[in-house]
Symmetry: C2
């Protein structure tokens, strides 16, 4: 294993020439938050945190780190769930959250140029106030856009609008040696050499440091309608989804939810969910520019749901009615987290026709191994979020059962032609499962690419494909 | 420069054990077509052509070629315009056109799995007959889907629907050493390691050989309306496009066309264009599921055009009315080609707000250097197709003026923050312009990636980033 240099007082003196000393946190100055991400089971303190404000600062820091073989860990808002922002080799952590500005809204080219530390929720309101739409919609709105780009975040609207990758037109990145590079641009098409931009998207800070993004915007749809559909069983709810897709309706989102998770959210939010008729629900959204256009879709969808045994169709066509439902959905992760002592998660994605197979497997699994497991997810795109809960298990028992559950779930995902991660990434903790799921030839290519981008291996070491 | 082995009688005897002898073309058996692509200015005969029918055949051929250091050139329908399918080092050409089957239409996951040799026009009719839509729509419908993937083809619908890359969910590829690898799959989201799939898309056969593609489909929009809008000047026509985009209309396509190119097409097709009021036109298409939905968009757009000085708005809301207009548009390339002795093309893409700057530059350029240049293009996505015509110029004069025109146009595109190729790729002949347009650091990364995928450099050598 490579030996990394730690940041010393001497280094600090040099680095303070690149970044104002008050934006450098050294030793005891480093807040506990910087030692982990949202997952929190893996904790390491970096030896220095730099709260950068410009590309030039990042470039100078990286050039220095590369020369002195100091590990560099990029960090946004720290909302990741796989330990990608944990500074495993300590070294230098570069925090992007002060680089949080809109640089340009170009209405003629429908692009927004932003710094990487801008929070997703701020980005959304900025564009929506101006009549534009940035579709990717992960539950975690306090993530940074840089983090979203690094994990290729998806969210609830992927079924209609695709994922973050589909909205990144251009990137400015700093390479390991400090070189600043523009990839792509405002152009709509590009067949000019290999697609370096998409290699960076989803690479979790292991190939280059993103300092600017040119994002594609859409006009904001003028209307939307949500349908909350209670079903007698979860199997019926999820089984309806492929029929909706096959009917050629184009929902913006199709989520599935179970009563037990709704109860957690009710407790967490301190307010009631608008319906209590059933143990299982589909929650759908349709958008468009006129209510007539939307109605033409959701009428058919409602009929399909009823034909499949839905108990009711609750239509939320005002913000007032739909907000509490989506607010509940948005609180699931936090609510589950609050309901137990510790948890770990699985973010597999399977073809959407196989979601039921996976959910059924999970239900059986929790009986078989005797551990609490809760799940919800994006039925429309096949991406499931499954949480394994520690409750009052001993350390040893928790590790044993958690690992067993993980192992079985990832094996099942593979069997269903699925992938290890739909949107959370691989980071530190999912590497063994990536290794099991990909053929050796893919891993060899990935490691070769890592070597090309980062020959000294300073960028977020031990992540993704570095086992 | 590396020395490549040529295919000998001895090799042929071995290779005939992998692929039936009647599907191997050797020496004189090789048709002239295999010596060039549609550009036709670069001509080299391969020493062997293999008309493969399966992934297993490709794998065996590649393993053999890799072991014996024989160059491999993949070829689809040969409709490329940049010499990517020219076997510069002779060696083995692998022709995919017999691998032209639909393997699976999965209506529950909205995917179509196809072999690479399927023609785009066949793929389109296959899915459209079944109520599905594969949006990428390059003018050249007799290209193969494998070729479209290799150049990341765009076409006319990119303004609304994006490019080929956006519709490739999964690939089966054969690596240089014969290893068969699945990348991506039917899943809608994927954050499981580096994005190898998108590295292959647009890599023009230099990184791996595509043997299967899983494509994303959409439901077929039920209605469409085309608007043909004559303008007094081309500048007014093109200048209207950013205003249409800014108005938040979402056209499926916005093309610009000039009278002189329409005249070529009239002559080529032997029939009249439906309008002769003007020297410049915008041609727009809108699609949706109801006429009301579409009308809500195109009414506003028509008004914007009139405000900008449009002479008329011709609405084609039936297949009968719109077909002749689009047929004319579809014939532009062939018509221009038929109007001269030889030509070469530029396929730059610029931000869509800069199209007028580029077109104006081209008009000035043809006066300045005294050569005929014709253009048309995708005003909606900033991708221009500019053709430099040889007419009766001497060989020497043609080379001189053509190179001068090219050099100036690519420099202008760079100045406007554009890229060398929007959709045709780099291949053999655009390499000098790619080199001028990209920073050295990008080229170094691309060459490093090439080395990772193809360490013996057998796959389509001298293409894209190999200067």
């Amino acid at each position: 294993m490579t030996e990394y240099k730690q940041v010393t007082e001497e280094d600090l003196a040099v680095l303070a020439g690149f970044v104002d000393r008050e934006r450098l946190l050294f030793g005891d100055e480093i807040n506990e938050e910087y030692s982990h991400d949202e997952l929190a089971s893996e904790r390491v303190y970096p030896s220095l945190v730099a709260r950068v404000t410009s590309t030039a600062e990042v470039s100078k820091l990286m050039a220095y780190a590369n020369e002195h073989h100091i590990a560099v860990t990029p960090r946004g808002a720290g909302t990741g769930l796989v330990g990608a922002a944990v500074a495993v080799e300590r070294g230098l952590m570069i925090d992007t959250t002060l680089m949080n500005h809109v640089l340009e809204l170009d209405e003629e080219n429908l692009t927004l140029t932003v710094e990487p530390g801008m929070l997703l929720m701020e980005l959304r309101s900025y564009v929506e106030e101006r009549g534009f739409y940035y579709p990717p919609d992960p539950g975690e709105k306090s993530a940074t856009i840089g983090g979203n780009i690094s994990t290729n975040a998806g969210g609830m609207t992927a079924v209609k609008y695709g994922v973050t990758r589909d909205y990144v037109r251009g990137l400015e990145v700093v390479l390991a040696d400090g070189t600043v590079l523009q990839l792509g641009g405002k152009v709509v098409k590009n067949s000019s050499g290999y697609d370096l931009k998409d290699m960076i998207v989803g690479s979790e800070g292991t190939l280059a440091f993103v300092t600017k993004a040119i994002l594609k915007l859409l006009p904001l749809p003028k209307k939307n309608v949500s349908l909350l559909v209670p079903f007698p069983t979860l199997e019926q709810a999820i089984g309806t989804v492929p029929l909706i897709i096959k009917s050629k309706a184009v929902p913006t989102a199709i989520e599935f939810m179970e009563r037990e998770v709704i109860l957690d959210a009710e407790e967490f939010l301190g307010r009631k969910f608008p319906d209590n008729q059933a143990d299982a629900y589909l929650l759908l959204k349709f958008d468009g520019n006129t209510m007539e256009e939307i109605a033409s879709y959701y009428d058919d969808t409602a009929q399909i749901c009823l034909d499949q045994g839905a108990i009711d169709i609750l239509i939320a066509d005002t913000e007032e009615r739909s907000a509490p439902v989506w607010k509940t959905r948005g609180a699931f992760l936090e609510a589950i987290k609050a309901s137990t002592s510790m948890m770990d998660e699985v973010d597999v994605v399977v073809p959407r026709s196989r979601v039921n197979d996976f959910v059924e497997f999970v239900h059986q699994l929790r009986q078989d191994i005797g551990i609490r497991i809760k799940s919800f997810g994006h039925a429309g795109d096949g991406n499931l979020h499954v949480y394994i809960l520690r409750d009052d298990l001993s350390d040893e028992k928790w590790r044993e059962l958690m690992r067993l559950a993980m192992k079985r779930m990832y094996a099942k995902a593979r069997e269903l032609q699925g992938q290890v991660s739909g949107e959370h990434g691989i980071g530190l903790v999912k590497r063994p499962y990536l290794k099991e799921s990909l053929p050796e030839a893919s891993l060899v290519l990935m490691r070769g690419i890592k070597q090309v981008f980062d020959p000294n291996n300073i960028l977020n070491p031990h992540k993704v494909c570095q086992m």
